[in-house]
């Protein structure tokens, strides 16, 4: 349901007045997509009802929330980090072992928005030491919004966008300057195929090894969430992996999935997928609870940085070429006093 022009104008005026940001005509989708989670949180059915409440009450808190939702760009490269750490250090190694016959991995970014997520996936795969040149990693990036898809397909990002979540080593390795912007290099862009897709309608896709369906279900009511999860599960390989947003779950919606913990990330797999074939972790306290459903797995959830294959603290050696993974210092768990 698209909001009325009067509701759109109200939100547009409010954001302009409070944050000096102009939301021009034709951005109804943006208003809908940003405000629907807020409406649901407030127990309202849709954005129009939310706007009606704003118009009829002096709810300053709600007004502030609306402005923040409209002005905060939630999309960033490697957003939330943990799913990408799990992808790199557990899921891709598992798939490399199991897909040795075909050397092909299909990954679906199911609500790719402006493209940061599928490109983050492609960069992760391209940099992965196990994904050698004889592997084919296909990233399918879909979104309901064709305008966003066209933008994403260009692979062009502003300075502000590449400052968000993208390690500098990856910026120099996988981007090139395009005037004041940065453009994803062809090697990465060629791994990603963009396609319009409405999760709310039946769809037919190649079977997927990994699905990123993050921060999508929050826009749907419970019945629609269940339908979407079932549709997604039908295009997943039986031993595939599903990543959801941090506040999303399949629990209570689709019992065809089992929940696992990988490091700090939660991943869902079709029931009966079997154990995740991981690097040796036995005997490591707090290690991954491979193949165990949620109760056991979460009991063994490790602390940040404590899982066994955490990237070794390292500094780039002076004068060396860039390392294959972004340079990461060790966890600095304590702060020291400054003189």
């Amino acid at each position: 349901m698209t909001i009325s022009s009067s509701a759109f104008n109200f939100v547009s005026d409010l954001v302009k007045q409070q944050a000096a940001i102009v939301i021009g005509p034709g951005k109804e989708y943006l208003v809908e997509s940003r405000l629907l989670p807020l409406a649901r949180d407030a127990g309202l059915d849709d954005v129009s009802t939310l706007v009606a409440r704003l118009q009829s009450t002096a709810d300053d808190r709600l007004r502030r929330q609306v402005v923040e939702a409209m002005t905060t760009n939630e999309t960033s490269f490697f957003r939330d980090r943990d799913p990408f750490t799990a992808l790199t250090q557990a899921v891709l190694p598992d798939l490399c072992r199991k897909r040795g016959a075909t050397h092909r991995i299909n990954i679906w970014s199911a609500a790719c928005s402006s493209g940061q997520e599928p490109y983050s996936i492609a960069m992760s795969a391209l940099d992965h030491p196990l994904i050698t040149s004889d592997w084919q990693v296909h990233v399918l990036a879909t979104d309901i919004n064709e305008e966003m898809l066209q933008r994403a397909e260009q692979g062009r990002f502003s300075q502000l966008e590449v400052n968000r979540g993208l390690p500098a080593a990856m910026l120099v390795r996988h981007f090139e300057r395009a005037e004041t912007d940065w453009k994803v290099v062809a090697a990465v862009r060629n791994m990603v195929r963009f396609k319009p897709l409405n999760l709310n309608e039946p769809f037919d896709l190649a079977f997927m090894d990994v699905v990123f369906l993050r921060n999508v279900l929050i826009y749907f009511d419970a019945a629609t969430k269940a339908e979407v999860l079932q549709r997604v599960r039908r295009v997943m390989k039986p031993d595939g992996f599903l990543f959801l947003g941090g506040s999303e779950t399949t629990l209570g919606l689709d019992d065809g999935f089992e929940r696992f913990t990988i490091g700090n990330a939660t991943v869902y797999r079709p029931r009966g997928a079997g154990p995740i074939d991981l690097p040796a972790v036995s005997g490591v306290p707090g290690g991954l609870a491979s193949g165990q459903p949620v109760a056991a797995a979460t009991a063994a959830r490790p602390v940040a940085g404590g899982w066994p294959w955490a990237v070794t603290p390292s500094l780039p050696p002076v004068g060396s070429t860039l390392p294959p993974f972004p340079a990461q210092p060790g966890p600095h768990s304590t702060r020291q006093p400054l003189n």
């Binding site: 939330d80 980090r81 979540g165 390690p167 090139e176 500094l315 004068g319 990461q328 210092p329 020291q336």
Partner: protein, 120 residues
């Protein structure tokens, strides 16, 4: 530690870092920052501008990386220098991360999380 010859930028970065829970010391150039380290300051992270008088940011990074006792300091360039070759130089010298001005507070927080100095 915020190292920038612009007092306005030191104010902005200092405010962001304090907002994230850090104690902040400032230095207007690399040489003064080195002097502070030599007098015992041991910051968890240094945000380093590139173009500064007396000692620029790249020279500061090189100087810090030569000293074993300062190896635990995380170094992040925060600069207007936006050429790829400059980023590569800074990383090769031992900077862990690189933020190009202009930036948003979220970008600083993102990078700190990336570096493991801030939970996200």
């Amino acid at each position: 530690m915020v190292i920038d010859d612009s007092s306005a930028m030191r104010l902005i970065l200092g405010r962001i870092m304090r907002g994230l829970g850090f104690d902040v010391v400032e230095a207007p150039n690399g040489a003064e920052a080195i002097a502070r380290l030599q007098s015992g300051a041991m910051p968890e992270i240094a945000l380093v501008d590139w173009n500064m008088p007396v000692m620029d940011g790249l020279a500061f990074v090189n100087a810090v990386r030569k000293e074993e006792k300062w190896r635990q300091i995380t170094l992040m360039m925060v600069t207007t220098e936006s050429e790829q070759s400059q980023i590569v130089r800074a990383l090769a010298a031992g900077a862990h991360e690189y933020v190009i001005k202009p930036f948003t507070p979220d970008a600083i927080a993102d990078k700190l999380a990336l570096l493991g100095v801030l939970a996200y």
